[in-house]
Amino acid sequence: MTVALQASGLSKRYGDVVALDDVSLDIHAGEIHCLFGENGAGKSTLSGCLYGYVQPDSGALAIDGRPMRLRSPAEALRLGIGMIHQHFKLVGRLSVIENILVGAGGRGLFLDTRAARRRLAALCADYGVALSPDAIVEELPVGLQQWVEIIKVLFLGVRVLILDEPTAVLTPQESDRLMAALERMRDAGMAIVLISHKLREVMRSDRVTVLRAGKLVASLKTAETSPEELSVLMVGRKVSPSYDHNRETPGEIVLDLSDVYVNGERGHRVLDGLSIHVRAHEIVGLAGVAGNGQRELFETIMRVRPLEAGRISIDGKDVTAGSTRDVIDLGVGHIPDDRYLQGLIGSFTIADNIVLGRHHDCAFRKGPFLDRKAISSFAADSMSEYRVAARDSGTRVDRLSGGNAQKVILARELQRSTSLLLANQPTRGLDIGVIDYVYRQLLAKKAEGFGILLASEELDDLMTLCDRIAVIHRGKIVGVVDPSGTTPQHLGLMMAGQAVSGGDAHAH
């Protein structure tokens, strides 16, 4: 096997943080090489170095055995190294063919769309993708948008393809199709670098390199290792993802939505006759491909979005015409999916963020003024209870790591709520230790008698934590299943909007 890309002794620091510490690895032509590790382990920094997007502080790269310095993505592309980013770098309003032509090179002043269309058609036929060249990219489903990204890079004739968490936005079926396509590229002699933290995909690679805290822990042949060994290598200790899962008898209905219709900013339907309910003492999972109405559902329950039709009640009280303040006063906690956009104010301190929304409580004010002393001591107590690691409660929230920022939100929402918790992607971007902590907090609240609505892209997590799983597709609940009687494949089909027979579609 020939070495397509060789990195030796790569190191990179950002301020005090060592993102990459003396990492060396070989990427062979004709293999799928997986970079495996937790968030913050250095996977993205490493791939950035391989693609010329990040400049390492020290270390060297060799391409086809020749030493090279990659000063920019342009050089990497010229040398045949392409990358698919986790967050797509597409121009939504342009068509598929226009997106592909941006940066596709070519000679002459004018665009040669005819030749590009022919090549696009050939590539689509090759990989069995149905992409219309004139479709507007933002109107395509996410799975196809990803193909636009991939074909954009294939157009440049790359020999090394780096993919950063490519399956994060895909259904299990779409992921399978993508993996099959990557295997075809490998068989054609390309080198595929796959960044992932999902064991299921890692096990389909040829070799796996495990990173932890910026260091290379191991580089193994996938066939000679096991998921158990890999997860121990990734975390550095044995993890026990078993939770005390007490199946309590569900109590009263604490959240009830019936036939809710909501329109989005551009006037299109985002919730389309959605009905769902959550009882006390139960966790209801919400599974779905991103962008099928999850965020809108949470915002609607929080009464941020106006209803076209339908009814919402919380704890038996009708809040259809209520305000966000009414919902909060009913004891509802909300963990939004974008913690910096909706959950926190980055330039505020931890203390201010923790009392945000209840700063008008008598406990935190003296007459019209905020009682700084009371707020600080309350924040300090919360920080120790919720294990927020920071110097003090006066630290700005945007200086915290993702995990600590999420704990600030937990501290606020869990202490404030009394009956219902809405958690939208509460573990996104967090490492295993914090994920475990978040889940244990949710289970503790369930035991206290809370009803919890939990949306997550990690189907395995939903299946271990939830009492019921509702599948959302195009703003509708297309089925409710019992986690013990289903599989990720089965859920995936429902998430893709395919009617599934046999499942107890409306189990209560």
């Binding site: 997007y53 050089e75 770098k89 342009l94 226009e98 002043l109």
Partner: protein, 310 residues
């Protein structure tokens, strides 16, 4: 007799519309390229004023139109480079950059104008003459409206299809459109975002400077402070009203120019509406257009946002 008189007014009204549209169109086509590349240049007014003033000084000194135009364009390009440096390199808020450019231009031209004139009688000169198209200019009405204009007017209208073809049919044009929507799409494909945004900004300013020079040499016999009189802002409004599309922007410019022409002819027409009110119409209409087109706007998604990695 009265029929002839009415026809003369009508022809004059339309011919003036085309003439008034010229500097606006030159600037609008330039700024269209700038804005499609994601740079929200609000300093159009100041750049146009600078172009007009430099053209005035240069013509007063040299007596040569070409020199005057060349220097006006150069001065505007310097302002464009400053705008790009502030907005792209230093990532200053685009609106604040533009306000700075406008205040700078307003102050500097006034100061320099006063020290240039210094109480002497201000030099005056004839504005550029028209170049009638042979044969075509003899067609009744249309001939005198469209084909008895100044060279730069013909050039401004010829620019519209050129800019259209550039944006929609060339590789560079596609890259600029993509840049205004999502700079990261170019950056990750190894295309230089900064160089393209500088080029687009300087190009737009050059055409705005040319428009300013025409405003001076094609319309007026002398410079007066604040000669541009809000026309730069009108260009910004025309881009919004025209939804950043070359042909619609041209329609907006023509509509605004017609209204201004009506305003200046209002006495001859016998309109009962005060002149100042007519001059405010373009702005009122564009606010109405923006309100009506709410949600359908095709404003470049990354317009006015300074790009940085990560």
């Amino acid at each position: 007799m009265s029929g002839l008189f009415q026809e003369a007014i009508f022809v004059s009204l339309l011919a003036a519309t085309i003439r008034i549209a010229t500097p606006l169109l030159l600037s609008a086509m330039g700024e269209l390229v700038t804005q499609r590349a994601g740079i929200w240049n609000v300093g159009v007014e100041g750049t146009m004023l600078t172009g007009a003033f430099i053209a005035y000084i240069a013509y007063a000194v040299s007596g040569d139109h070409l020199t005057a135009f060349a220097l006006a364009i150069s001065a505007a390009m310097v302002l464009g480079a400053i705008t790009a440096f502030l907005s792209v390199t230093l990532r200053v808020d685009h609106f604040i950059t533009g306000l700075g450019i406008n205040l700078l231009a307003s102050g500097l031209t006034l100061f320099w104008f006063r020290s240039f004139v210094k109480g002497k009688a201000q030099p005056t000169f004839d504005s550029i003459g028209t170049v009638p198209f042979p044969y075509l200019s003899d067609i009744p009405v249309i001939g005198s409206v469209l084909f008895d204009q100044r060279l730069l007017t013909y050039a401004a209208f010829a620019l519209v299809p050129v800019v259209w073809a550039f944006l929609y049919r060339t590789r560079t044009g596609l890259e600029l459109r993509a840049l205004g929507e999502n700079p990261a799409a170019l950056d990750t494909m190894g295309l230089n975002v900064v160089a393209r945004q500088y080029a687009a900004t300087i190009f737009g300013s050059a055409l705005t400077g040319l428009g300013g020079a025409f405003l001076m040499l094609g319309f007026s016999d002398r410079f007066v402070p604040e000669l541009s009189a809000g026309r730069g802002w009108l260009v910004v409004v025309a881009l919004i009203a025209g939804n950043w599309h070359p042909l619609r922007v041209t329609s907006a410019v023509l509509a605004f120019s017609f209204l201004e022409s009506v305003a200046t002819h209002s006495q001859a027409i016998g309109a009962a509406v005060p002149y100042q009110l007519l001059l405010a119409l373009p702005y009122v209409i564009s606010i109405a257009i923006i309100v009506m087109a709410r949600g359908k706007s095709r404003q470049p998604a990354a317009l006015g946002e300074s790009y940085s990695r990560s």
